[in-house]
């Protein structure tokens, strides 16, 4: 007992803590990188979808009353808001977007000759930090207009 007390402090095991710490940092970095690129890919996918939906909707919206009344000139065709909105919904249904991105929300803004589609979906992160609840949404925007040539 007496001898134990006089023994100088033992340093064995100190490196273990250090290495485990390194491993923890590395693991956290891996999680961050994997999640970051998953979110990036999801945004790419949403951008594609938004661009396609905007194009499709602009085509659909350019078939409405406004074009018939004002005629076709060199200017971009006037959009019919209701037809454009219906076009977005139809495109998203046809491409199976809702199945690919659960919780997909779309927002369509039609102003004159422009159709703007904004899509957002909850971020689908493959890895999570234990005990850390990260939620967020990924959003993308696509704009289209129809210009007769």
């Amino acid at each position: 007992m007496n001898r134990l007390r006089r023994r100088p402090r033992d340093e064995r095991g100190a490196t273990t803590v250090l290495v485990i710490g390194f491993a923890g940092v590395l693991l956290a970095l891996v999680v961050a990188v994997v999640d970051g690129s998953a979110a990036y890919r999801q945004r790419q996918s949403l951008t594609t979808l938004a661009e396609g939906a905007a194009l499709w909707a602009a085509d659909a919206g350019a078939q409405g009353r406004e074009v018939y009344l004002r005629g076709v000139t060199d200017a971009p065709l006037e959009q019919t808001a209701s037809a454009a909105r219906a076009g977005v919904a139809q495109y998203l249904r046809a491409t199976g977007a809702v199945a690919d991105h659960p919780g997909l929300a779309s927002q369509v803004r039609v102003s004159g000759d422009r159709v703007e589609v904004r899509l957002s979906a909850p971020a689908d992160l493959p890895l999570t930090f234990p005990g850390l609840d990260v939620t967020g949404r990924v959003a993308a925007t696509g704009v289209a207009l129809v210009r007769p040539e």
Binding site: R3, R7, P8, D10, E11, R12, G13, A14, T15, T16, V19, I20, F22, A23, L26, L27, L29, V30, V33, V34, S37, R41, Q44, T48, L49, G52, L55, W56, D59, A60, Y91, A94, T95, V146, P148
Partner: protein, 149 residues
């Protein structure tokens, strides 16, 4: 008086065995993930480029050639020139005529990424991860009458 136990050298021993046990697999995991991610990004870019090339081509046959060339170029740009890749193009509503109005083209890229540091002895593609990507692009509803396709 007994000499206190010397701690010199124990750090090295701990570092070596813990490093082998923890850090080496973790670094390998990170390297593998990076490689797979590079493959996934490359597949995304390739699908995007191929879809665009296909949609811009005047007809289906030249579109197919352009799409394959674009996909191969995109993969080469990401340092994946050697990987086996499959480009599948389909379209709705008429799969035989993708360049007519109102058609929606879907390009699917499937590639295989080899894992790093797997000995050649195990054979080619013994340890490979499949990456894939899908890109959907609508052809405009207004296509010039008389255009081939």
């Amino acid at each position: 008086m007994p000499r206190p136990r010397d701690d010199r050298g124990t750090a090295v021993v701990e570092f070596v065995w813990l490093g082998l046990l923890l850090l080496v697999p973790l670094v390998y995991l990170a390297a593998t993930l990076m490689r797979v991610q590079a493959g996934a990004f490359a597949a995304d870019t390739a699908a995007r480029a191929a879809g665009r090339a296909y949609a811009l081509a005047p007809d289906d046959a030249s579109g197919e050639r352009a799409a394959r060339a674009a996909a191969a170029q995109a993969l080469r740009d990401q340092g994946l020139a050697e990987v086996p890749v499959r480009v599948a193009i389909s379209c709705t509503p008429d799969p035989g005529q993708c360049h007519q109005g109102a058609s929606v083209i879907t390009v699917r890229i499937e590639a295989e990424v080899d894992l790093p540091l797997v000995p050649v002895l195990l054979g080619d593609g013994a340890a490979a991860v499949a990456v894939s990507s899908r890109h959907t692009v609508p052809i405009g509803r207004y296509v010039a009458v008389g255009s081939p396709g």
